[in-house]
Amino acid sequence: MSIAATHDNVGVQANRPEPDGARPADALGQAHQTLELIVPGMHCAGCIRTIENGLGEVAGVVSARANLGERRVRVIWRGEDASPITEKLTTLGFESHGINEATDDLERAKSRELLVALAVAGFAAANVMLLSVSVWSGAEAETRSLFHWISALIATPAVLFAGRPFYHSAARWLNMDVPISLAVLMALAMSLVETALDGEIAYFDASVSLLFFLLIGRVLDNHMHQRARHSLAALARLVPDTAIVIGNNNQETPTPLARIPLGARLRVLSGDRVPIDGRVVAGESDVDISLVTGESLPVHAVKGAVLQAGALTLNGSLELETTAIAGESFISRMREMMTAVENGRAAHRRIADRVAGLYAPVVHLLALLTFIGWMATTGDWRDAVYAAITVLIITCPCALGLAVPVVQVVAAGRLFQNGILAKSGEALERAAEIQHVLFDKTGTLTVGEPRLENENTYADRSIAIAAGLARHSRHPLCRALVQAAKARGVTLAECDRVSEHAGLGLEGHVDGSDARLGSARWCGLAPISVDDRSVVCLTVDDDTFVFRFSDRDRPGIRTALTRLKAMGLDLGILSGDRAEVVAAMAKRLGIGDYEAGLAPDEKLDRVRSLSEAGTPTMMIGDGLNDVPVLAAADVSMTPMNAADIGRASADFVFLRDSLEAVPEVVEVARLARRRVRENIALAIAYNCVAVPIAMAGLATPLIATIAMSSSSIIVVANALRLQGKRRREVKQATVAKPADRMGVRT
């Protein structure tokens, strides 16, 4: 559960006019406004009804419409303050947060443009093909001419309109879209000339069906990005963008982060995240720093303690004096390091572009040779141009254009079924090449949540009382106690007059007796172990119980590591934790290569030196301190419960607990690479046959169309082989794997 307090910020963000046209202002003179919220918890028809009916009751709400696929609610309302809407959602039991609408609208417009282009190309392809079939089967000259003119009327606007996505990207630099655009436009131009001259052959059909096939690839590719983006948005927690500043006369005012000066005094309420780095000047609280350092147990912050932005106060409010301004706080420094190193990744050239770099010059050279050859032998320039353009059309990388995106979409779909989000197809290409895998320890190799050790040795009553008290606290150890009690089916004891003392523990009354839960000191015992932060004591009257906790390994860790080793990858641990802890873990898991006590920039150096030595490296980590290294690694992966900017910078996010996601990604990426290579080989083989025919001037529009369609279909069918294997696996996995925690459908 993230922070309920974040809801207050939403109202400010959303204030967009309704795209369906201006709505009339109502009697009060207030125009209707639209608010879009992400509601990650929505997953069924019942949720839709609860949300829509519930929001309909809120004053000022005109309509509420839930979008299940994107986990959003769109509310049309009037008024000044949107907080009743988010509060209502909270009381209905749904967490919600606002979204960045500018990028959202842009993406939406892009996918809509692609769909419209696909529809237009599909319409044109179907109708032109209808006319072409009769021309191919030998229509009379008059009919042929008429049909060519009708085809021209349909194809010309369609090609100019539907091909825009390709022309735009071709105009930027030499990629696969250059030969595509050239072929499509040349085919159109030549066909128009032929039609005007009452010629026999026109390529309108080839031109539009080419676009249609290629647009299918684009739409699929875009769909993959959209899905990853929506799932990520649903995971995101809203970063507070205001903080409460305490003025000179102790007046508290919410202030945007950017306007908070160095040395300002801030109030951080219990349960809020620290917005800017600062030193505690008053108050005390246990503070969860797991997002910042990956350390799973809270630290106790008292006067003088220095806290970094992103830390979460658990049980007390704090007064901080800022030691940085918003742009210089820990989060911002991490973000800067991240953007600084991210450029390194641009060095990777996508397979499609690498092929295009070789393919396009060869094809254009062949077309030129054909033209020269025909000029030399026949001297007829029209025949020569005609043959050269036929070469361009027949070599148009239709199959190549589909070869890569279809494979990657299928691969990403397969990963998604296994609870892994792939951000881009390019990430899959990079993941196929890695040789070295580096893990962070806390939160990555381990779950990052403490769990009660030897739970069965404790008496039911002691757990019932301890959990009854623990229920009143957000401390991770308390949550672990409650979880253990629930897992055992113990009814939690009723406690009253419970109070929490930061850094010490809880006290309360159970069945008329006093009970204390917390540190050994709090319960009047001698210190129990060196690191007694993972021990909780309970005293009821004179009875004393000691509960021990430990962080547990991520499930599937051993099989994951074995599979990775079997794939010939080198494994290593880069941790910020103490050396002896890391060494013990590395020894237990059989990982020889580990380094402990590393600061974020030291981790960065390790990964960089590996990359520079020509060893593509994958980094798996979760904390804010891992963010720069995630961005610097050739491939990065992060669990679902990582920091927001960590998830934003990682290539893959795994939504389930199991670490088996890591070998799964590498395996699927390698399979995808093999399919891509096969597809490219198929496409080139087809060209080796087709090009001589075209150069000899023997290719008719019928041959061109059949060759192009069949090569595209073969390529797509080959890509779908990746999926065929998945279906069988999923059948087995539905029994074996735990339910997806986020409710992202599989």
Partner: protein, 46 residues
């Protein structure tokens, strides 16, 4: 040939009708929540 004069416009008209219907449904946001549409048929009051 006379048949064609009638049939070709008819075919084009039907094709355009299909295209228009698709563009309309796209504009009417019918493709924005395919999962939701599948679930909504289970609601009585909708």
């Amino acid at each position: 040939m006379n048949g064609l004069l009638f049939l070709i416009p008819a075919a084009l008209f039907l094709g355009l009708l299909g295209l228009a219907a698709f563009l309309w449904s796209l504009r009417a946001r019918q493709y924005e929540d395919l999962d939701g549409a599948a679930q909504r048929i289970l609601l009585d009051d909708d």
